[in-house]
């Protein structure tokens, strides 16, 4: 088996066709991983969620990692790793354009972003519905694939 670097086309193809990415953030040396949906555009990954622990953590430490993969078997897999920085898209005028762009991009994948926003019940507690838009600045994005 040979492991090759993926080119930019291959990386973007994987990222755009992956159902979910896995977002890792850190709090006091302890990492945490969550599957989420992302839309990539012009150097950023856009996403949307409800307020929770991961948002608290990324506000304190914006250093994050995204991972996308397509794994069919031992000799047939691709994986893309993104080293990035969390940027919250608040209601502030300075974020308005980016926030609108995030909304427009994510709306196209309504089937995916809605679940984070619909009223959910976790262990009999009604979950906060405070929406949080954010984007991940791509600092480094690399991909590798297995070749027989």
């Amino acid at each position: 088996m040979q492991i090759n670097a993926m080119n930019q086309f291959e990386i973007m193809h994987l990222v755009e066709h992956a159902k979910v990415g896995r977002l890792a953030c850190v709090h006091e040396g302890q990492p945490y991983v969550i599957p989420m949906n992302f839309v990539c555009r012009l150097g950023y990954f856009y996403s949307f969620t409800t307020y929770g622990r991961k948002i608290e953590w990324m506000r304190v430490n914006p250093q994050v990692c995204l991972e996308f993969d397509d794994i069919s078997g031992t000799n047939n897999w691709q994986t893309v790793i993104v080293v990035g920085e969390y940027e919250e898209l608040t209601d502030d005028p300075e974020h308005l354009a980016a926030r609108n762009e995030a909304h427009a991009l994510l709306s196209k994948r309504a089937e995916w972003w809605q679940p984070a926003y619909v009223k959910t019940v976790i262990r009999d507690h009604v979950r906060s519905l405070e929406p949080v838009y954010f984007r991940i600045l791509i600092k480094e994005m690399t991909g590798h694939k297995a070749v027989k």
Copy 2:
């Protein structure tokens, strides 16, 4: 949609049937995520890889997170998060029993663990073949699933 906690049976079923888990580790506040294969047994996740950056990082900071999921769609997903601690299974006599157990468990999934060990070529450089066995002590393991 409702999000419910998974019980222990559901958690173990997902973990044992997931093709891969995503392992997150941290170096100086920067997280890093890699898809890997794990076998769960008696409070630990066992795995095997070749020496590389992730091993260096986990030797310095053993705090890790594992994520397993089964995502079919918006209203049909399960995800398990493990907060854990990296333990390397060296050649030392104190690790011998655990290392042998790791080898026995992982050998049963030969199709999955072999790729980390077979001779691979990355961008024309032959990759180190130094094998590293390790396990992740489960400190906390929780699962959530979507229910329509």
